[in-house]
Amino acid sequence: MNDQPVSINEEDLHAYVDGALSEERRAQVEQALEQNPALAAKVSDYFSLNSMFHERYDRVLNEPVPARLRPRKERNWRDAMNWPQFAGMAAALVLGVGIGVGTNMGRGVPDSGTGMASTTQSSDTRPVSADSTEMFARRVAIAHVVYMPQVGRPAEMGQGHEEDFVRFLSNKLGTDVHPPMLTKSGFQLDGGRMLPGKDGPMAQFMYRNADGERLTLVISHRKASSNTTAFKLYQDGPVNVFYWVDGNFGYAVSAGIDRNVMLQIAHDVYAQLTSATAG
């Protein structure tokens, strides 16, 4: 048996290429390949075919998805899943919908007479910090603006589906997520959804108070871990975002309401999330 290599069939060769063999069988195939150049050439061709597939077709992954392939029954902002496009629309919405609930209209909001184009431009040309957490905050602000106009109860979380939804989000984020209760501050949980993010999925929870003011909490699972940061404030037009990073997770609270109130809420959120993970 030592001189005569064990018989290797066609399917073994393929399974070898596809990494589907047991350790033992793999060793046997490798031995056979060493002794048989014809087999080795074949296997090498099979490997080449696989890499040629990628060389040839992976570029499709980077092509913009044509409009007809974006689920489109409800024509609304949620269908725009590409962030750049998202950003453009958000910029338009800042003006168009006029969601300046609070009065903290920052310097970033241009004269409304300048119109949409200049808004888009100003948000595009604003110096973007290399700090990825700031990028995160910016996206959160955009998401807040984009989704806030949906006044009704979002479809994603109907009555009674809250638990399912929370479980679903937990699966996606790879951790237990429990949306904090903000009733103390007058906000009721109103809905939530999953957003695609550059660093992985983000869960967005929406809250609303009796006055119809909205607040969103975004939790994102980051690829890179980092130490806990202090609260930071990011302001995009009328939207204030308090954000912080804790290990693998980034958190952000956004709303167009008074900063001091928001800071209070951010502390509340932080306290609840910390005790939840500890417990």
């Binding site: 066609e10 399917e11 393929h14 399974a15 596809d18 589907a20 074949k42 061709d45 099979y46 075919l49 696989n50 040629m52 597939f53 990628h54 060389e55 040839r56 077709y57 992976d58 499709v60 992954l61 980077n62 092509e63 998805v65 044509p66 007809r68 392939l69 974006r70 689920p71 029954k73 949620r78 269908d79 899943m81 479809a155 994603e156 399912d164 939804f165 679903f168 699966n171 959804r193 999953m194 957003l195 695609p196």
Partner: protein, 172 residues
Amino acid sequence: MDIRDELMEHVPRLRRYARALVNNRDLSDDLVQDTLERALSRTEKFKAGSDLRAWLFTIMHNVFINQVRKASSKAVHVSVDDESIVETEFAVAAAHTQSLEVRDLDYALQRLPAEQREVVLLVGLEEMSYTEVALALEIPVGTVMSRLSRGRERLRALMAGAQPGAKLQVVR
């Protein structure tokens, strides 16, 4: 949850696979569109927590096989050896400086029987395990392996026949 958001995450990969499978941009996007529409019309059949990607590939497989059947029942015979078809199909790649081998890949793939092409691509391009392919195509693992074995070997022979010096010419 909104399954639309979920679906969107899979669209680029569905498109990649469809492009390799059908080798025509519009037709392959048609395939993706049919797949998405079918998926959206029966979201209640999708079990939450199970593998959405596998489910989508199963749907795409069914749509694709139906198309193949329809096309063959119409019995319009188009010879796969017709070089003129090849020329027009390849013309799109002109801007890229791809090797002759890679460019011929489209052609060679189209000469595989549809069921072999699916398996070869699901394994080689989508990097699915044999079990995943078996589930997606609803066939036994043994069938996956025999289709893979025959398909890949055939593809290898076709590509080997398309090396420089062989009769296929470089497209400008």
